[in-house]
């Protein structure tokens, strides 16, 4: 499973919360591919995903959260995705 967090550089909230989200994702799936992407470097990709605000979270190339979720919410989305792969 691949998780991409698209965020603006200098996002204070992201810096504060990303470590907790990453830990929650790895706790659920130690093989998860975790990518933190500077949206300025990936505008075309962000547009293709449908991102309109930052930060946003995509799972396996699909926009799932239009803002940073809580760690538990991210874990629940990952579990759901494992049950019903796209």
């Amino acid at each position: 499973m691949k998780i991409e967090v698209l965020h603006a550089p200098g996002c204070v909230r992201c810096a504060r919360e990303l470590a907790g989200l990453r830990a929650a994702a790895l706790a659920l799936d130690p093989t998860v591919q975790w990518h933190e992407i500077n949206i300025v470097d990936a505008i075309d990709y962000a547009v293709a995903l449908g991102v309109l605000k930052t930060p946003a979270v995509a799972i396996d190339g699909e926009l799932v959260f239009a803002k940073l979720p809580l760690p538990d919410t991210l874990s629940a989305a990952m579990r759901e995705r494992r049950r019903t792969p796209a």
Partner: protein, 147 residues
């Protein structure tokens, strides 16, 4: 005109419009929309503006040229006027605008490609409109004109 109008710091609506290269009507429009403050009238009935009004007008004009709506410009001006704002807040707003613009460009490119298809499908001859392939494609099942 009273003595305040001759003070070099104070400017008439026509003067701030000229300095910011907008029309006086645009200034009044921005005032109505809440982007510019309306100064009180002097005793002789003039509304006079400080030099910061010119800066504000330039800000509005250039933000419009970058595609910001009046509501978005209002939000940017509020950010500018709040001492607690940091550059990251402004940067995030601009990134969001860029994302929205790029999404619109993508949608418009899709529309343009649909038009290309309609143009290609029509031999542009003198047949009656009821036989026109463009009108036929537009009347057909959804997606027919944008395949």
């Amino acid at each position: 005109m009273d003595s305040s109008t001759s003070h070099p710091q104070w400017l008439t609506v026509g003067k701030i419009a000229e300095l910011a290269e907008v029309s006086a009507n645009a200034v009044r429009f921005y005032e109505r929309e809440g982007l510019m403050q309306v100064p009180p009238k002097t005793r002789s009935g003039y509304r006079l503006y400080g030099p910061e009004a010119v800066q504000r007008l330039r800000f509005i004009k250039q933000a419009q040229q970058c595609g910001f709506t009046l509501a978005e410009i209002q939000a940017l001006l509020q950010l500018r006027d709040q001492p607690s704002t940091c550059c990251n807040d402004v940067h995030a707003k601009v990134i969001e605008k860029k994302l929205a613009l790029e999404a619109r460009i993508r949608d418009m490119k899709t529309m343009s490609m649909a038009l290309d298809q309609l143009i290609a499908d029509c031999s542009n001859d003198g047949r009656p409109a009821e036989d026109c392939p463009i009108l036929g494609a537009l009347s057909g099942p959804a997606g027919g004109a944008a395949r």
